[in-house]
Point group: C2
Chain length 152, copies 2
């Protein structure tokens, strides 16, 4: 192999309190999938979100906890309709998140809000009228800007 | 809507040098997909990896750059065979990554290495014998620990 296949198989969040972090996603209606002991996993479309204790996370990688937090990352959950965005943000707030930006129209034509999950990661909740979700919820930008794209 | 649908639509990395970050993934063989101006996107299985200038990233969220880097996150690319892991790490090193952990057997039965991409995010490269990839490369833990799972 001369490169790396174009995929992300697992998104792992190192969290200080595994039960609390799991409870946040469960409060949003997410359902756990069977996973190894000490890990909480949520199957997504084509990959998995894993929650993992921060100390183990750091140990596995071989970096001290103080050196983690590398990179600026958001995870986005796209909605099928503009009016869903505010509802998702409200659900996140009820589950313990801090709203960083309430739902609002943005310059590129979408409708977006941000929340900060209690365990640290930043989520974007978005409606993108130029990139409708597939029937199974999958999101691709492949048709972005294509005037023949459905609903564009 | 009373919660949030169980999906991640976009993983966005805020990067200081967009061209350099894009070049890293292209050096691994990844192909860009059309995306809005100022964004570099790579379609994945069911969602998109987006690279976005750090200043814009911070502005959109409404936090200063100094407050980003929240959360401890890894992105994993799982391989189909154990012997592929070292090759992917070598490719990442050639593309400019720092190897944090070379490929090695791990206690749970997998074979794993980590690299630190030049733009900050930590990637795990893994072979998981208990969770074979689907034909299209999708990864799910749904069958984890199922003695009837293929190849388990």
């Amino acid at each position: 192999m001369s490169g790396m296949d174009q995929r992300i198989s697992v998104i792992t969040l190192g969290v200080a309190d595994l039960a609390a972090a799991a409870g946040f996603y469960e409060a949003l209606g997410w359902r756990r999938t069977p996973a190894p002991e000490g890990v909480v996993a949520f199957d997504l479309i084509g990959q998995t979100l894993a929650l993992y204790p921060l100390a183990s996370f750091a140990e596995d990688i071989g970096l001290p906890v103080s050196e983690l937090g590398h990179g600026a990352v958001t995870l986005a959950c796209n909605c099928r309709a503009k009016q869903e965005v505010a509802g998702v943000l409200a659900a996140a707030r009820r589950a313990g998140a801090e709203i960083l930006r309430p739902a609002a129209d943005v310059v590129w034509g979408g409708h977006v809000g941000y929340f900060h999950a209690p365990h640290g990661v930043i989520w974007e909740v978005a409606f993108n009228p130029f990139a409708p979700l597939a029937p199974d919820g999958a999101f691709r930008w492949a048709g972005y800007g294509d005037p023949d794209a459905p609903d564009a």
